[in-house]
Amino acid sequence: MRLELIGLNHRVAAIEVREQASLSPDQVEGALRGMVGVGNLDGAAILSTCNRTELYLSPREHFPDEELRRLYCRLTGLEEEFARTAYVLRDDEAIRHLVRVSAGLDSQMLGEVQIIGQLRDAYTRAQDVGATNNILNKALTRALEAGKDVRNRTGISQGAVSVASAAVQMAQRIFGNLEGRRVLLVGAGETARLAANHLGGQGVTDWRVANRTEGNARVVADLLGGRVVSFPPSPEDVDWADIVVSATGASDPVIAGDPCLQKLRKRRRSLLLLDLAMPRDIDPALGQFDDVFLYTVDDFNELVEANLQQREKEARRAESIVDKHVDEFVAWYRQNRVAPSIQRLHQVLEELRRQEVERNRKRFTAEDHEQLEKFSVALMKKVEGLFASNLRQSSLQDDSLSMAEEVVRAVAREGEDADVQEVLKQLRQEGSH
């Protein structure tokens, strides 16, 4: 059995093509049911996300490239000219790609964490419809383990990579857990809502919303479960909050003035002021106090840039962890390829042993028959063990097939057995690949 993959991702296909190639969970299940067990194909799994649609296949013999592309087009409904850019990877290269995908090294946003969940879903879906075989189970499990390992042992997924998530990261650096924190949202536009979504995702439930148009403020406040306050917000509202997010289109600062300064001067709790507006909404003078942290879009861009550089650095370490997982899988994969040959060898040797014992049985007394049986089994196991060990060893150096052929040929000359000829035939076929 073999491992191969064909797919399109953000590197080789535009978003329109990726959209067309994308499959819904129902479509994936339908495709898997239709594919597996038909002809040469022994197992399959499909990973379809917004950035990639990849088919992981385990056929008995590798498909030719053209056949794979046709299969890809048939499943995704993609026109053949677009499928020409699809990449086809086999065996070692296929597992390396799969592990890198799981580790987030092949993602558009380096180290993103969603991919590992998407891969787990793809695996579960394939298992549910009975589409996985031994090779795919091992490959997908190994990839998931590697993804987890990379994230545990490197900082590739750490640090925010968008302004909104950077704002949350900053809030967490100041307050730790955000549950129960009080947030004043100034503005009701897209940026303010996005920031509110991110903060809400971290457990913030206590909101006040201020906006020039009160109706819009009410809509957002209802969504968040907060209450509407006057615009511009009063110094009391600012002082009430732990975090102030301001993202209005106002041309002058909306949080400014002496009353606000006086209020914050006396404040002895941390206050994070997030100014996401351009031009700025918050008077920079408010950031002068020890317990007040004023951050603007430029600061967050700086933080995002620092995080991205850190991820790039961590990616180099992640690659070495990927190498380790790939090497372990490849060792198993190569040994697994000679397993059927070893099994057939066992059958041949066992048959030879049985015939020899029968032929010589009459030369021994009845009391010795049991000893003869034990002796012959032990001898056969020793010989078989020697061959099997050699086969497994040489399979790691990738010359397993010639070695296996020699071994079985030697046995075949002795046994002249039809099964042996069958084994030879099979090995020749394997050798041709």
Binding site: R151, N152, R153, T154, G155, Q158, G159, M170, Q172, R173, I174, F175, G176, N177, R268, R269, S270, F289, D290, D291, F293, D299, E302, L303, A306, N307, E314, R317
Partner: protein
């Protein structure tokens, strides 16, 4: 038994904490959550080994390890580490563990250099339950107050990084300002309570020992001064008279003072009139 208690086990602990510092040194340069949780587990093993040493040494000399300055240093190091492990249960310390670890290792090395084996002179003056209670409470209080200073230092470091937009490992891998502040307050309150309790026990101990008020007053000068300072600090904290950053700075200053007072106290016990 003597070799095990005064030589083998203390040196083993030193090796363990040295290894731990090595692991944290690696973790300062790179992120590895597996290694980090391994370091936390190893830290707990260290705490368990210290407790074992404490039991064995108490059995061997029929007194907690307060009979020699070296023992006091070693005892304080262990108490600080027990406090660190307790804090770790409440807030993941991450890179912050390096600071108490450095303190623990320094105290252990000093303790070992000064020697852990008690001599007969010290043994006679410091045996007894009252001495054990006073010195243990005092050391635990001092340990907590030193921890308070270290958390204050962490607060100042992180505050500086956040204010100056320095997004490096310290920014990413220290506990949050809120957590550091919580731990600082907890250790300040607990440490103050322990020091005041130890002050009370010291009065009882000194009176019982010599019956002389002069001795009590002389020995308790530094502790009285410390208690007054601690009450002042608690009031400042309670009524928020200073910003959290300035309060953190004050805690650092206080912990330096505590260290100085501890030294004075130890010198007085072992070199002064108690010897």
């Amino acid at each position: 038994m003597d070799s095990l208690v005064y030589l083998v086990l203390p040196q083993l602990l030193l090796v363990l904490f040295g290894t731990l510092l090595g692991i944290w040194a690696i973790l300062m340069r790179r992120t590895d959550l597996n290694l980090e949780s391994g370091a936390v587990r190893l830290g707990r093993v260290g705490a368990a080994m210290f407790v074992l040493w404490l039991v064995l040494v108490t059995v061997a000399q029929r007194q907690v390890p307060v009979l020699e300055p070296g023992q006091l240093m070693y005892y304080l190091a262990g108490l600080i580490w027990l406090g660190q492990c307790y804090s770790q249960l409440r807030v993941n310390q991450r890179l912050f563990a390096v600071l108490p670890l450095l303190g623990v290792l320094t105290l252990m090395v000093v303790g070992l250099v000064m020697g852990l084996r008690p001599d007969d002179v010290a043994r006679t003056s410091l045996l007894g339950t009252a001495a054990a209670v006073h010195v243990s409470l005092s050391l635990a209080g001092v340990g907590m107050l030193l921890g308070c200073g270290v958390y204050g230092a962490g607060h100042v470091i992180l505050h500086h990084h956040i204010s100056r937009r320095q997004f490096d490992a310290w920014f990413n891998r220290l506990p949050s300002l809120g957590d550091l502040d919580r731990l600082r307050r907890l250790s300040l309150t607990t440490g103050s309570a322990l020091v005041i309790l130890s002050l009370a026990s010291a009065m009882a101990w000194s009176s019982a020992r010599s019956g002389s008020t002069e001795t009590v007053v002389s020995h308790l000068h530094p502790m009285l001064l410390l208690s007054v300072l601690l009450v002042a600090l608690l009031l400042i904290d309670r009524f928020r008279w200073l910003s959290t950053r300035n309060l953190a700075v004050l805690c650092v200053v206080m912990s330096v003072l505590v260290l100085a007072l501890l030294t004075v106290s130890v010198v007085e016990i072992f070199v002064g009139r108690f010897a």
